[in-house]
Amino acid sequence: AQSNLRIAVIPKGTTHVFWKSVEAGARRAGEELGVEIVWKGPIKENDRAQQIAIVEQFVNEGVSGIVLAPLDHTALARPVAVAGQKKIPVVIFDSSLRGEAGKDFVSFVATDNKKGGSLGGEHLGKLLGGKGKVVLLRYMVGSASTMEREEGFLESIDKLKSVEVTVKNRFAGPTAGEAKTASMNIIDRLREADGVFCPNESSTFGMLLALRQNNLAGKVRFVGFDTSPPLVEALQKGEIDALVAQDPTRMGYEAVTTIVKQIRGAQSPPVIDTGVQLITRGNLNDPKIKALLGLP
């Protein structure tokens, strides 16, 4: 019966490059291990109720295992517990879930988001020489992983006495278009700023567009989070100074491997860190980085 395992992989959404990479990793693992992968995310990005509905449905249908990137720390706990009662193992990835890894669910496979944030903060501090004005454009209300990144960033910046964060209560919103508008609306702050940080792909891209349009790209130090082809291009052109990169492909791969191992009776560590990596123009040609970015 082991040959026809069905693993449901449930991302937070389906339209970011990030999730496409996770899917690729998960499918690769599926092929290697000979299991069927069902990939299904909520249609409306960030709709918790819809994600719960999807988990419920897979539990109800009786899949062999569930791999889930929870949109919410608490709200997804109940359906995951129901899965536990029905003896369906669950691996959590990307964002955390309430409960104990190894007990309430099999493992937690993720980037250490806080570490990623502080990595970005430290690098920005270094670029500014320890002084100046910094703008933080947040992602969205209630998104746990990006909030951890923002927190990590602020912590490492606060250590630097003469760096002042001039904006930290603006939110980019879910799409790049809205992020650009939000950035344009604080353009006077951006003009005075020495450094900028954004916590995910869409906010980084929206900010980049706004900086470009106001001829600020390359003039302010800019650290973003996540990677996508346009962001890497901007990095190459010097419009972005650094990107904090996660390894989504590995995340998808590890998550699926972990759950299959569990089903097949092997033990897995409760927490698996898939690592963060600071990408700068300096290390772009590093073969490891190239592989991570999927560059030739």
Partner: protein, 315 residues
């Protein structure tokens, strides 16, 4: 006979959609468990759709439902955290909801503004309030029986037949149906929607009736919020974004008309069910999201068109 057929209304659409998926996925789709699940997943939108039915019959519209749902979950979580018993917390949510309706109704009747504008403004404003109260975060609340309203039944609960949240929706549907059909105020609501001028000429207290309509609309949205809270187990100021379209769609698929006077409670529930069934069935078919979006659009049109065609034939 024909008359009875016609009264079934959008049910044809539901039957069609259901049969379609049952044929395509006979092992996974028409199971008892999955049926229960679909009812569960309809409860939130269905309950809000009851209120929306009243509003649309009265000739208005309420875009703020999603925000009221969110506000209601936040209020409940806050009250639970403050130590209120679950029932009090739930009532608190509903009371706040009805106050929102009072504000909406007052603005519409006093300032003589279009309901679209007022509820659009409240759509933003109430979400702002929810976020402010929740300090822009999810609010975790202590577990209580509220969390169990929308759980699938365990074996020793089988006697209930359906989860309590689903019962709530069904009973409320009967109440609203009776209200619209058999009470004076209910008939006044229909009269106002059918021809406001006439209602006024005949001495129907149009202002008061409308006020009550919007209070009911928001109260039902807040009740939907209670169910949503049960579903999420947290107070979430961002939940229900875009829900207004789902709710309005359910009511309109159910046969209501924006020009007022027309609409059926049972139709609205069927409309809500159609949408759940399509979403559930598409997942069972393992369609990619973008295909599901296209298919859903197509099915909505077919379901509604079927209904219209049947009508025309009978006439």
């Amino acid at each position: 006979m024909n008359d009875r057929l016609r009264k079934l209304g959008p049910l044809t659409g539901l039957v069609f959609v259901f049969a379609l998926f049952a044929l395509l996925r006979p092992e996974h789709f028409p199971t008892a468990d999955n049926l229960q699940l679909m009812l569960l997943q309809t409860a939130v939108v269905g309950t809000a759709a009851l209120g929306m039915t009243i509003v649309i019959i009265s000739g208005g519209i309420d875009l703020s439902v999603g925000s009221v749902v969110a506000l209601s979950t936040v209020i409940i979580a806050l009250l639970l955290n403050a130590g209120a018993p679950p029932l009090v917390a739930a009532l608190g949510g509903v009371v706040i909801g009805s106050l929102c309706g009072l504000v909406i109704g007052t603005l519409i009747t006093r300032l003589k503004l279009a309901s679209f504008i007022v509820t659009l403004a409240m759509w933003g404003a109430l979400r702002g309030v929810a976020k402010g109260l929740a300090d822009e975060q999810m609010i975790i609340a202590p577990a209580s029986w509220l969390n169990g309203l929308l759980n699938a039944l365990t074996d020793d609960q089988r006697w209930m037949l359906l989860p309590p949240g689903v019962w709530l929706m069904l009973i409320l549907a009967l109440v609203v149906g009776g209200f619209l059909r058999y009470t004076q105020i209910g008939r006044h609501v229909v009269a106002v929607g059918s021809n406001e001028q006439t209602a006024r000429l005949c001495g129907v207290p149009v202002g008061k009736t409308k006020l009550m309509v919007y209070m009911l609309g928001s109260s039902f949205a807040a009740l939907a919020g209670v169910l949503q809270f049960s579903y999420l187990t947290v107070g979430d100021p961002t939940t229900g974004a875009g829900m207004e379209l789902d709710v309005i769609a359910a009511v309109v698929i159910g046969g209501a008309s924006f020009s007022g006077g027309e609409g059926k409670v049972s139709g609205s529930l069927v409309g809500a069910l159609i949408m759940t069934v399509v979403a559930n069935g598409c997942t069972k078919m393992e369609l990619p999201n973008w295909v599901q979006e296209i298919v859903t659009g197509g099915i909505i049109i077919v379901a509604v068109a079927l209904d219209r065609f049947r009508h025309r034939k009978i006439e």
